[in-house]
């Protein structure tokens, strides 16, 4: 039995018939960094709001440490949230924002100030206690929101796209910080994001959601290397999905007849990541470069394969790619182990 158990939760908002969540079941372990990943409208934020207590699902059960929490109002759940908009109280100083939760729970002043100082230390904002939220930058406000939630010592911390409002560099930095804080506090994190890169970088496990259902749950390399569906393959990173069919000897071949080097007994979708393909004279596949994008360390190519309509993306380090230009004929090599047959 897991720490947090979500059992067959379905939800539709009152007055609508759109099913926002459909029979979602999840298990989250103690001390785990768990990510709900999906495009906007997939139900991930609704799931978070159910865990926080702002929504009661139409059907299903949610238990935390064996206790049914659906009947518990948000203010009595051992769960805290870092909101996407931060939702800092604009009329209170940073210190008062961070002590707010403890004050509501009736913790004595000296104790709550101590806890707030520790929380602010943890997010590296000591010295900001007397400022007002409006005096802080977005990244700093984000840290205050985190400190405010952590000061309550939640069993479960919910984070609703907390990094989406930050610029690229700050986002990278905060990813590392969040991971560090999660390790140091030993709290279970449920992190909601639509950014697959963020999810891969931080999570212990990821649940990919689509239209109110779970597509796949697994650790980052499961999700990236062994996607269970076209949707997951395409949503996570870049991928080439090729249609293949078995020939008379049970080898999977492209429509043009070229054998891929793996076996199968039914038509299948075969995925290979762009970085698994490399330009080599003895390559199994051949084609023509139709597009080329240089992006610093790496260069990406589009190669139209001979004998079919398939076009694949490949990614090479820029040194490897030197000397190749548009229109060149190239051969592509790969390790057949890096092919993945997406479940039909």
């Amino acid at each position: 039995m897991g720490f947090l158990e979500v059992e067959a939760v379905s939800h539709q908002y009152a007055g609508t018939d759109a099913q926002v969540l459909n029979e979602v079941s999840l298990t989250i372990q103690e001390n785990e960094f768990f990510t709900l990943l999906g495009p906007s409208g997939c139900g991930k934020t609704t799931m978070l709001r159910i865990l926080a207590g702002f929504e009661v699902p139409s059907r299903g059960r949610v238990t935390l440490d064996g206790q049914d929490i659906l009947r518990i109002p948000p203010w009595r759940r051992p769960v805290n949230t870092v909101f996407q908009s931060y939702a800092l109280f604009p009329h209170l100083t940073i210190l008062r924002n961070v002590t707010f939760g403890l004050k509501m729970r009736g913790v004595a002043k000296a104790d709550r100030h101590g806890a707030a100082r520790r929380a602010l230390d943890l997010v590296r904002l000591d010295g900001f206690a007397d400022r007002m939220p409006s005096d802080l930058s977005g990244g700093q406000q984000q840290r205050v929101a985190l400190a405010r939630a952590l000061a309550c010592q939640p069993r479960l911390l919910l984070l609703d796209e907390p990094l989406s409002a930050l610029d690229y560099k700050l986002r990278k930095e905060m990813q590392g910080e969040l991971k560090r804080i999660q390790r140091e506090t030993g709290t279970s994190f449920v992190f909601v994001t639509h950014d697959q890169e963020e999810a891969l970088a931080m999570s212990d496990r990821i649940a990919v959601m689509r239209q109110g259902t779970l597509e796949q749950v697994g650790n980052p390399s499961d999700i990236y290397d062994r996607p269970s569906s076209d949707f997951v393959a395409e949503f996570i990173g870049d991928s080439n999905l090729l249609n293949a069919a078995p020939d008379s000897q049970g080898r999977l071949c492209l429509p043009g007849g070229r054998a891929l080097g793996i076996r199968g007994d039914a038509p299948a979708r075969v995925m290979i990541r762009p970085e698994a393909l490399r330009i080599a004279p003895d390559g199994n596949l051949s084609g023509q470069v139709t597009d080329l994008v240089y992006s610093g360390a790496a260069t990406r190519f589009l190669v139209a394969l001979d004998g079919g309509e398939e076009t694949v993306q490949i990614q090479q380090t820029s040194t490897e790619a030197a000397g190749i230009s548009m229109g060149d004929k190239v051969c592509l090599a790969y390790d057949p182990q890096q092919l993945w047959v997406v479940a039909p």
Binding site: A52, G53, F54, P73, P74, W75, R76, V79, N80, T81, F83, S85, A87, L88, F89, P90, H91, T93, L95, R96, F100, G101, M104, R105, A129, D130, R148, A149, C152
Partner: protein, 302 residues
């Protein structure tokens, strides 16, 4: 030197000029005349004797001369002011209790519905205040609608005798000024970010705690504006006490009117008006001082 900024500033001043001149001429002018009137001797048949300066009118507010020619303290007028302040204060409290939830309810509706509700709220303004107070006269009079309803429900066996009392005035004022409380609070609520309430719940605040620690501070400006908008005209209200109040529940407005009309004592009427003005200004200054103090306390003591 004429910079772009100063040109823009001058142009803005030019745009405000008509309003400023209007206020200066039509409000500032009469005020000056009234200050003058309050400081001269009354003429026996109404009007004043220009040029005979005296502070008798202000003395009359607190003191009277008895038959022996001694000056004694007369608290009658002070009592009327106190009653007015109490009635206006009660009105503020009552409209706040009724108006705050109303404003919050409206602010939490769908935007299109909000506009409709605000329209309904402003509907009473389409009917003259006098007429609306007459309506209350019919409702509150002995054996009126309220009495009949109370007796039909067996809450009382005799007429309640509400009309012509302080209670009737309080009811009338609360009714009249309710929209003035709701509107500024609603305006503040509409700008209030209700996700802060969710954040408060998330941090363990009960509904009451969220209200007191997050919503009320968030709409404080609206609440203060509403209280002033109700208290100040409430203090000087005229129509409601005339219609609903009895001879023993005179308010400042009626007192002033009596001095100018029936008593033909213009200087005293003018003096009464300025005492009222000074009280209101003292209240406003006190509020500003308190606000400044709380702001300073907040910034220095977390």
């Amino acid at each position: 030197m004429s910079t772009a900024a100063s040109v823009a500033g001058r142009r803005r001043a030019g745009l405000a000029a008509p309003a400023i001149l209007c206020i200066a001429f039509f409000m500032g002018g009469p005020m000056c005349i009234m200050v003058f009137v309050s400081l001269v001797e009354r003429a026996p048949d109404g009007g004043v004797i220009w040029g005979n300066f005296t502070t008798d009118a202000y003395k009359q507010f607190l003191f009277e001369e008895n038959l022996l020619g001694e000056t004694t303290l007369n608290a009658d007028y002070l009592r009327i002011y106190l009653r007015s302040a109490l009635l206006a204060g009660f009105t503020v409290l009552a409209t706040l209790i009724v108006g705050f939830p109303t404003a919050m309810y409206i602010a939490m509706q769908h935007p299109r519905r909000r506009a409709l509700l605000i329209f309904f709220l402003s509907l009473p303004f389409w009917v003259n205040l006098l007429v609306r107070n007459y309506a209350w006269l019919l409702l509150l009079r002995a054996n009126g609608l309220l009495d009949q309803a109370a007796m039909a429900l067996r809450l009382t066996s005799e007429p309640l005798n509400i009309l012509y009392s302080n209670t009737a005035i309080a009811i009338g004022l609360t009714y009249s000024f309710l929209p003035l409380m709701v509107l500024p609070i609603y305006a503040a609520m509409e700008k209030f970010d209700f996700s802060l309430v969710e954040a408060a719940f998330d941090l363990g605040a009960s509904r009451w705690q969220a209200l007191m620690h997050v919503i009320v501070p968030g709409v404080k400006g609206g609440i203060v504006a509403g209280c002033l908008l109700v208290f100040i005209p409430g203090l000087g209200s005229y129509v409601t006490p005339v219609l609903l109040g009895g001879s023993k529940s005179l308010m400042i407005g009626n007192l002033i009117e009596t001095q100018f009309a029936a008593a033909r004592n213009w200087p005293f009427g003018a003096a009464l008006a300025f005492v009222l003005l000074m009280m209101v200004m003292a209240a406003a200054l006190l509020r500003a001082a308190l606000l400044r103090k709380s702001r300073r306390a907040k910034s220095s003591n977390p």
